[in-house]
């Protein structure tokens, strides 16, 4: 390999790396470390997610899905292995930095919506921006923009208990998008919804992925839901055992 080739390949690998939103190498998670009941939940996961990917992680309960999600979401730290999120080394960062990573790089969408009660949809969407020190005017402007994107602008002043499940999840998606995160992390986002509203929510995800280039990681136990994602990873007993393309990839 001559010098020019070396430089070119270095540049390409740098380009490749810059295209990676998630890079995991040998991620292991053990609970009760050093005790008799020590339990290894993840056995060295290698995972790369590129910018603009829409990945489904499928697995039965107990497969380590939640643990993996917590680590990806910077809520938990791996026992061993290395993890870069959007080029940032998430290894051994102090709590304060982990908070900032969650705030800026990750948008959580939960099965149970997890909107904050007695707080309007608008304020809920503003919340991540509040913790990100975005000025009040800008917060409100962006929150309204996001709410209209998910079709909830007319419910901005409603509190969570005045909204239906599907509406709550749409507000939650708007909230997850607030700080324009590197990745949307959706954990069973349709688990508490009927099929019609599930469809609406999934369509929003497809729209965000297709038309806004948002990288999405969907964690689910439903094969049917996973089939509409371009890339499906199957997790079993703490290992990724299969990777394939979805059979019913949807284009919105």
């Amino acid at each position: 390999m001559d010098r020019a080739q070396q430089i070119r390949s270095a540049a390409e690998s740098a380009f490749d790396r810059s295209q990676e939103v998630i890079r995991m190498e040998g991620i292991t998670k053990r609970y009760f470390e050093g005790k008799e009941n020590e339990l290894e939940v993840l056995h060295g996961i290698d995972l790369t997610v590129k910018r603009g990917d829409f990945v489904a992680i499928v697995g039965e309960s107990g497969s380590g899905k939640s643990t993996l999600m917590n680590i990806i979401g910077a809520l938990d730290r791996p026992s061993a292995g290395r993890y870069w999120l959007d080029g940032l080394d998430v290894q051994d960062q102090p709590d304060r930095v982990m908070s900032e990573i969650r705030n800026k790089k990750i948008g959580f969408v939960f099965q149970t919506f997890n909107l904050i009660g007695r707080t309007t949809a608008l304020k809920n969407v503003e919340l991540p921006m509040l913790y990100g020190h975005v000025p009040q005017k800008e917060r409100t402007r962006r929150a309204m923009e996001l709410l209209s994107m998910v079709g909830m602008a007319d419910r901005a002043k409603h509190q969570p208990n005045e909204l239906s499940g599907g509406q709550k999840q749409r507000v939650a998606i708007a909230r997850a998008m607030a700080n324009d995160p590197a990745i949307l992390l959706a954990d069973e986002p349709t688990g508490a919804l009927d099929s019609a509203t599930s469809r609406t929510v999934m369509d929003i995800f497809h729209d965000l992925n297709r038309n806004h280039g948002k990288t999405i990681l969907l964690i689910t136990h439903s094969q049917a839901l996973a089939e509409e994602c371009p890339r499906i990873l199957t997790l079993m007993d703490g290992n990724i055992v299969d990777e394939r393309r979805g059979r019913e990839v949807r284009y919105v």
Binding site: L75, D95, F110, I116, R118, Y131
Partner: protein, 427 residues
């Protein structure tokens, strides 16, 4: 910060009853402190006012009976008093006063000599008026704040003449409006004072000031106003047939640097005349020292009640801490969500500290309102104008915030340290 206050108010609104019960300890604690402070402030304030009207810095020199010590059979000392009136030999004389003046120089501002003539009543076809007649020397007018309306003040050289300085109120009452105050100068009236009926001429008229009478007015039961009639000292002595001396007089301090020392030196000076007098000696007292004693006493009472209130505040603070812990347990999931959305521990801590401070601040403000109200009612019942103590109100508000900070820190810190995964899983 504003966002945190809004959040705290929202969470209090959601649990109004609980918030109020939590605040109760703070309200009672702060309320009782403020109430007792208000009463104390009102009391000392009105005492100060009435005393300064009477000349709080004045020094009263008076004869007192010596106590005779007896060794009884049991060996115990028994104080025996033989009540008597001082004889002519016992009284303080003009010579003593002259020597005192010479010895103390400019420290003595003025010496007020008085001779009481008791009270007398004028009855005429037009009306009636009662006065307390007092013979005073010229110096008396230097320090007593009398506003002369018409005529002139009696001088020492008027001694012996039946002339008087009366109040405008007296003129109105005695002459029933037939003689105006300006025309009263030179008028005469018949009055029996000191046991003899005689004719008195009005030399001057002063303005009767209701407020100046201070404590004295409290004792006047009827609506009849008793004013003072001032006559020359020499006249009073002549009427009383006494020329021996004085049982007491008032010294007004001049250029005095150390009031305490001046008082004790004055007492020593006069007492030296009485070392060989078996039954009498001289004592000095000043209203300011009396006032000091009373204020001190009041301060002790206030301190005692404040200590009890402090216990109530402590209990209230623990109540706040308890409710904050409950609130944090209830809102574990909310804390988890906030952390997942990127709230650092410090933001969570601040949120709950602000909530605790807001609870205590509202409690403190309500307590101040309750305290000022109670204090005002109590002061009113005791017949004093209510005065709120601004310092103690500010202190109370600050203190209640401090309680919120102190008792809110532990629960808030607990919330800040919650593990987000555990918290999100919490049902």
């Amino acid at each position: 910060m504003f966002e945190n206050v809004r959040l705290a108010l929202g969470s209090l609104r959601a649990n109004k009853m609980r918030a109020l019960l939590t605040m109760l300890g703070i309200i009672i604690g702060i309320g009782s402190v403020i109430a007792i402070m208000t009463v104390g402030e009102s009391l000392t304030g009105s005492l100060n006012d009435s005393m300064s009207g009477l000349g709080a810095s004045n020094l009263t020199v008076s004869l007192t009976q010596k106590s005779s010590d007896d060794e009884s059979a049991g060996g115990a000392r028994v104080r025996m008093f033989a009540p008597s009136t001082p004889g002519a030999d016992d009284l303080m004389t003009d010579e003593m006063i002259a020597e005192y003046r010479a010895a103390f120089g400019s420290m003595v501002g003025a010496i007020e000599l008085t001779e009481s003539l008791g009270s007398g009543t004028v009855e005429s076809a037009a009306g009636s008026a009662t006065v307390t007649a007092t013979g005073v020397n010229e110096e008396y007018y230097l320090t007593e704040e009398l506003e002369l309306l018409y005529g002139r003040l009696p001088a020492d050289s008027d001694g012996g003449r039946r002339v008087a300085l009366v109040s405008d109120q007296f003129v109105e009452d005695a002459f029933g409006g037939t003689v105006s105050a300006v025309n009263a100068v030179g008028q005469s009236f018949q009055m029996s004072v000191g046991g003899s009926l005689s004719t008195w001429y009005i030399l001057g008229v002063y303005r009767y000031d209701e407020e100046e009478t201070g404590i004295v007015s409290l004792t006047a039961a009827s609506d009849e106003v008793i004013t003072t009639m001032y006559v020359p000292l020499g006249t009073a002595k002549a009427v009383n047939g006494s020329d021996a001396g004085y049982q007491s007089f008032t010294v007004v301090g001049g250029t005095v640097e150390d009031q305490e020392l001046f008082i004790s030196e004055t007492e020593r000076f006069f007492a030296s005349y009485y070392t060989r007098n078996d039954s009498y000696t001289v004592e000095t007292s000043s209203l300011s020292s009396l006032l000091e004693t009373m204020t001190e006493m009041l301060g002790t009472v206030q301190l005692a009640i404040s200590a009890i209130a402090a216990i109530s505040l402590l209990v209230g603070g623990i109540g706040v801490m308890n409710i904050m812990l409950v609130s944090i347990t209830e809102r574990t999931r909310e804390i988890g969500i906030r952390k997942a959305l990127g709230a650092p521990g410090s933001a969570i801590r601040l949120q709950f500290i602000v909530e605790a401070v807001v609870i205590c601040l509202i409690g403190g403000l309500l307590g101040v309102a309750v305290g000022v109200g109670l204090g005002a009612v109590a002061a009113d019942l005791m017949g004093f104008p209510a005065r709120a103590s601004v310092e103690s109100i500010l202190l109370a508000v600050g203190f209640s915030m401090g309680i919120g900070l102190f008792f809110g820190y532990y629960p808030a810190n607990k919330a800040a340290k919650l593990d987000p995964i555990e918290a999100l899983r919490y049902e």
